[in-house]
């Protein structure tokens, strides 16, 4: 018996699947399962995070409902996965943020945006907030650069600390039987597997979403979202280097590297989340963890808002709307950062960690 009902169910399913093994060619979950005969909490959390929810094992399973064996691996592992985020969250008292995550995220976002707007309004007079500012340093008329760096630096560092502590707890829990040292080769393999979403492919034909036809485009939308995020992050990093190394202040012209990266990333962060959201709306409820709906949609919405406000800011930065839009954009980014350790963002880190472990197990077994 495990600590939770969902882990008990996951254990039951892995026992069924381990005596069948028909799905071992579909993804990483089943080969990892076959390396075990019994499953600890850590093992099950590992398998849950290894699952990319492509749905193939459900469509292919002769024992899925209405069969009495009631085998539904994608849904069970989705619930277990969501619960694992809370189980490993740091600091412990904040793990509750996962329970009603959609609410937490939306409140945080609304509050952050409101505070930025009110802050701008309080610190600047109306003429500045709704004024037209152009040329280098235009943004910093509304908020001094150092204040921006201090605030976002602190939020970013906190997010990193909380994420590192959470992932560390997960990594320790899934350490048996091969220990807690990761090797470079396994990490490289995991980067490749995560970067190409190797296991979000339904065993080769594509994923399943709304029916038994492998037509799901989530892989594409996820790539747009993820690489959009990375490009936006790169844009900010390049701009930071410009600022400190070259002494060049934002905003930059449209053809300059930070703006090009940010524009491409922003498009990804708008199109990708819309696609993911649409796929989620269409998804067969049998495959879905409905309890995590708020968390999933909350994260998608935050990414979308970040992309959208950023793009609007780019387009309208030479108008009077720049001040309010900058406040909205900064509010969205701030909320995204501070909720990162307590929302769907963590799925990427846990899944990556599980992929490292899997690559390691494969190398050990080989």
């Amino acid at each position: 018996m495990h600590g939770t009902r969902i882990l008990d169910e996951a254990d039951r399913l892995m026992t069924v699947c381990n005596s069948c093994r028909y799905c071992e060619g579909l993804c990483a979950v089943f080969p990892a399962m076959e390396m075990r005969r019994a499953f600890s909490d850590g093992d099950l959390n590992y398998l849950a995070n290894l699952c990319h929810s492509c749905g193939a094992c459900y469509v292919d399973c002769q024992f899925s409902p209405p069969h009495e064996f009631n085998v539904n691996v994608p849904k069970t592992l989705a619930v277990a996965r969501a619960e694992s985020y809370a189980a490993y969250a740091w600091p412990r008292p904040l793990s509750g943020a996962f329970a009603r995550n959609g609410l937490v995220i939306s409140l945080t976002a609304a509050l952050s945006m409101a505070i930025f707007i009110l802050g701008f309004a309080a610190l600047n007079d109306r003429g500045v907030l709704f004024g037209v500012h152009t040329g280098p340093g235009a943004f910093y008329k509304l908020m001094p650069h150092n204040a921006m760096v201090a605030l976002f630096g602190a939020a970013f560092l906190y997010a990193i600390l909380a994420l590192v502590m959470s992932v560390r707890a997960f990594w320790r829990d899934i350490g048996t039987p091969i220990g807690n040292r990761a090797d470079g080769g396994s990490i490289f393999q995991a980067i490749r597997d995560a970067g190409e979403l190797r296991y979000l492919h339904g065993g080769g034909v594509g994923c399943y979403n709304e029916d038994d036809k492998p037509t799901d485009r989530r892989k594409l939308y996820h790539h747009l979202t993820f690489y959009g995020f990375i490009l936006c992050f790169a844009a900010t990093s390049v701009a930071t280097l410009y600022h400190y190394l070259l002494g060049r202040e934002a905003p930059y012209p449209w053809w300059d590297l930070p703006v090009v990266l940010g524009t491409l990333g922003g498009i990804g962060l708008i199109v990708g989340p819309i696609g993911l959201f649409a796929a989620k709306m269409r998804r067969d409820p049998a495959l879905l963890d409905e309890y995590s709906y708020g968390m999933d949609v909350g994260f998608i919405a935050m990414l979308f808002l970040t992309g959208l406000t950023g793009m609007l800011l780019l387009v309208l930065r030479e108008t009077a709307a720049m001040g309010p839009l900058l406040a909205l954009h900064l509010g969205a980014v701030f909320a995204l950062f501070i909720t990162m350790p307590y929302g769907k963002f963590v799925h990427g880190l846990y899944r990556f960690t599980a992929l490292v472990r899997y690559a390691q197990e494969r190398r050990t077994a080989a």
């Binding site: 093994r21 076959e34 292919d60 209405p66 065993g203």
Partner: protein, 486 residues
């Protein structure tokens, strides 16, 4: 997902299937009865041959495909290793294997034809959307001869259905055929009982019967097995009732195969009555002893390597009182075989274990004591026919005999699990049914389990059922379409 799936093709069907006012539907070139591997290969092959095709599957959509849903591989001849096969498996070697497992009870012309055609099936089936993978964990012994379906039999079926629907084959589920209109060996129409729309007659120029055997029809099994059949567990769906087979035999088609023959393995007695599939099997026989309800051994558990003698244990258990037996072993061998769906029943002493199994403790203790005393020293190796034998007991255990002495003592209760039956319709190389007078039917073809007895008089080797299904399904569809076009 089930409700959404049901809306798919069935909903589409009513739009494209014109019903006439008199309740007669329009005529199809080829009617395929059945919904498994053989039926779908026939439907696809007929459709590719230019015929209009209707598939009638008696089961609901989830349970479509009969035994195919539980399969995982197919045995095809090939002259060289492939991406997923570790080495060549020539036609001659396939033939020799078939000859060995059937003890010569096979139709050589048909069997050799099937083996020859099986080579091309390896590629053809991929063209129909099915994907292969190397042999599964725990099945290395089949890595050279058998190609495994990526995702298993249901994945294979899903691919075939998607292809068939894409090609324009009509499929109807819950479509129980209650009568066949056959005159002088000529198929005219099938009477269909639909759950909602009632009885309809469907006419077609050719018929492909691919509706499987009668393994789920306990009453029919009782004709050969008596009341013992009540204790059989059926490994596939409850829809394999053999009703089409019976109609064909009653209407003049020549029968083939021994009606008492069936593929039966020992499966866990705790398995559901139907559709427990592969996961209820036990491959631990060689690691312990097997006793009946009187706690007596009854057969040499170490006769041959798993899975070669895998399929004899169903019949052996069926011959025991109450059709129940117990595989008994100790804690030293638990990890020597695949993990099982049902956990073993455990006791710290033999007597405690016997109590949990409702066996006579004294009798079980005596059986194990005598067995242990008979075990001779040897070097245990479960991958070969090793030299661990018993001496001085009957029956002997001729390999892998080791003392059962390390608690906890463990047991799996087992019953006969019926996979499929061998009684079928006789066919020729065109998969055309032969009538009782020996003449080929004008327009009736058969494929899959319903005619497997032509090739398999008895015995079995892994993956052959699917070979018979795909090869003869493809032939039957092609010939049925050819007949319809002429």
């Amino acid at each position: 997902m089930a409700d959404r799936r049901d809306r798919g093709p069935a909903g589409r069907m009513s739009l494209i299937w014109p019903h006439r006012a008199d309740g007669m539907s329009s005529k199809y070139d080829v009617l395929v009865i059945g919904g498994g591997n053989a039926a779908l290969c026939a439907a696809i092959s007929a459709r590719r041959g230019g015929a209009s095709v209707l598939v009638l599957e008696g089961a609901p959509k989830f349970y479509r495909g009969g035994n195919t849903r539980h399969t995982r591989n197919m045995r095809c001849a090939h002259d060289a290793a492939t991406e997923i096969l570790t080495g060549p498996y020539t036609e001659e070697e396939f033939w020799e294997d078939l000859l060995r497992v059937t003890g010569g009870q096979t139709d050589e012309v048909l069997a050799r034809h099937m083996i020859r055609e099986s080579k091309d099936i390896l590629n053809w089936i991929v063209e129909q959307g099915v994907r292969w993978q190397p042999s599964l964990g725990g099945t290395l012994s089949l890595g050279r001869t058998n190609s495994f379906f990526l995702g298993g039999g249901r994945a294979m079926l899903n691919a075939l259905y998607l292809t068939a629907e894409r090609l324009g084959v009509d499929v109807e589920y819950d479509a129980e055929v209650v009568d066949l209109v056959i005159e002088d060996g000529m198929f005219l129409a099938a009477r269909l009982q639909r759950p909602v729309r009632g009885e309809t007659e469907i006419r077609a120029t050719s018929l492909v019967a691919a509706a499987g055997g009668f393994e789920a029809n306990i009453e029919w099994l009782k004709q050969y097995w008596g009341e013992a059949a009540d204790n059989f567990l059926i490994r596939g769906t409850p829809y394999n009732r053999g009703s089409i087979l019976k109609m064909l035999l009653d209407k003049g088609v020549q029968e083939v195969g021994d009606p008492t023959q069936c593929h039966a393995v020992a499966i866990d007695a705790r398995a559901p009555k139907f559709d427990g599939g592969i996961i209820t099997r036990h491959d631990s026989v060689v690691f312990g002893i097997v006793v009946n309800k009187h706690a007596q051994r009854f057969y040499d558990e170490g006769e041959d390597i798993w899975p070669k003698r895998y399929a004899i244990w169903g019949r052996l258990v069926a011959a025991q009182p109450d059709q129940i037996a117990y595989i008994i072993f100790d804690s030293t061998v638990v990890t020597s075989f695949m993990p099982t769906l049902f956990p073993p029943i455990a006791g710290q002493t033999i007597a405690e274990l016997a109590g949990k199994l409702a066996l006579d403790p004294a009798a079980l203790e005596q059986t194990i004591t005598e067995f242990n005393a008979a075990v001779r020293p040897g070097t245990f190796d479960h991958t070969i026919l090793d030299d661990c034998v018993t001496e001085g007991i009957t029956p002997p255990k001729t390999h892998w005999a080791r003392r059962i002495e390390t608690p906890p003592f463990l047991a799996y209760p087992v019953r006969p699990g019926i996979t499929f039956t061998y009684l079928g319709t006789r066919v020729n190389k065109e998969a055309r049914m032969l009538m009782k007078d020996g003449k080929p039917s004008a327009n009736m073809f058969a494929a899959g389990e319903i005619m497997a007895g032509n090739v398999l008089g008895k015995g079995y080797a892994a993956g052959m059922g699917m070979t018979i299904g795909s090869v003869f399904g493809r032939i039957a569809g092609r010939e049925a379409a050819k007949h319809a076009r002429n």
